[in-house]
Amino acid sequence: MKIAIVKYNAGNIYSVVNALKRLGVDPVLTDDAEQLRTADRVLFPGQGEARQAMTYLQATGLDRVICDLRQPVLGICIGQQLMCRHSEEGDTDCLGIFPVDVKRFRPQQHEFKVPHMGWNQLEATDGFIRDAVPSGSFVYFVHSFYVPVCEFTAATCDYILPFSAALQKDNFYATQFHPEKSGKVGEQILRRFLEIEQD
């Protein structure tokens, strides 16, 4: 199986590479359109700032390449947010794969710190998340912006308010949490993504 990871200007993709290697696959890190189009699976991870990331993706034409992919694609963290329509981070127009807008957490009580950092539970699991792990499973989050619950939500998480911990639409999958840092639960989710039957 050929696994490609989108190479762009967002940091910390090493942990995703390591997690895939632990599952026995050797991913290629690339920004080459042909390599991305012909891969069996594409991962779109990263940590970073939405506007800088989108500016880079547009300048390199990767924005169109990602939107036109037909194989299963998994966005992680900022990857999930970039796959949405718009982000409040830097008032940024994003890829628009998921027709929903990314918001900033606005805590009403001091106990709610931002970023949302640490282990929290998946609820209302659906789609590829339900196929991988039970509701109530803990996964690792680090983020200050969130995707509201919408018709494409594949799992929710409750922090300040219920938000989309995962999304699924056609061949596009996404997680706000870091499956590559979420212990055995995360491994099960990544393995499930690799096993998804392609139409």
Binding site: G11, A19, G48, H116, M117, G118, K181, S182
Partner: protein, 252 residues
């Protein structure tokens, strides 16, 4: 519900952990990779690896260790010890660490925090603070592993670190460290209630009740300990079962 985190801290010298005796089934008790995996399987939520090597060669060994840990570990980990420049941070993050903790170097030159944050984001920057409650009732920050006093108060420096972009504060009470009489809960609560970033309690863990108190009285978001875990005095599955019974949200 967001879980309170339990974080074992491992001291590393020349690529080997210097504590750790109760994992008798490990092939190499001093191997950070094996020890880290053992803690991860027990249910540790995160790990901290502190480089206590002084030499240049040791630093290289530490970076190699980080690469090996990153390849094996499935939970987040922080590395610290002797980080004084952006190049140190770059090397350790490239080796696969999720976060770095800065201590004396940031207190000496606070701009370091902003430099790390602007290059790598807030989430990678943990500001570690060693502080001591002085006779006059003030908590004062110390440099060089607690050897050199400064004129900065804990509250003042922690707040500045947050404003400069640090993602978390790791507060070690020098009064409580090693005493096993509980964490510095009053100071912790003052910090946690004032700051809008997570606070990690460190120094003083001796019993499972101490962890509960750090969360309930100290309002800490996470608690770090070394010897009680390394010497098997507290086992993480039992600690988490206890905390859960005490109505504290933990990952089990």
């Amino acid at each position: 519900m967001l879980a309170k985190r339990i974080i074992p801290c491992l001291d590393v010298k020349d690529g080997q952990t210097v504590k750790g005796t109760h994992f008798v089934n490990l092939r190499q008790a001093g191997d950070p990779v094996e020890l880290g995996k053992a803690y991860s399987e027990q249910g540790a939520d995160e790990l901290v690896f502190l480089d206590i090597t002084a030499s240049h060669e040791g630093r290289k060994t530490f970076a190699d260790m980080v690469t090996r840990v990153a390849a094996e570990l499935t939970i987040p980990f922080t590395v610290g010890g002797g980080i004084s420049a952006l190049s140190d941070v770059d090397r350790l993050l490239n080796a696969g660490a999720d976060k770095v903790s800065v201590n004396s170097a940031a207190l000496r030159r606070p701009e370091l925090i902003g430099e790390i944050v602007s290059h790598f984001g807030s989430q990678v920057c943990v500001c570690a603070i060693d502080a001591r409650l002085e006779a006059d009732g003030r908590w004062m920050c110390y440099l060089n592993g607690g050897r050199m006093p400064t004129d900065r108060t804990l509250q003042d420096w922690a707040y500045e670190a947050q404003e400069r972009g640090a993602g978390e504060i790791l507060f070690t009470s020098m009064n409580h460290d090693g005493a096993k009489t509980g964490f510095a809960n009053d100071a912790l609560r003052q910090l946690a209630d004032r700051l809008s970033i997570p606070v990690i309690a460190s120094g003083g863990a001796g019993s499972m009740e101490h962890f509960r108190d750090a969360f309930v009285q100290g309002h800490a978001d996470a608690a770090l300990a070394a010897s009680v875990f390394h010497f098997g005095e507290i086992r993480i599955p039992e600690l988490k079962a206890y905390l859960s019974k005490e109505h504290i949200a933990v990952r089990q």
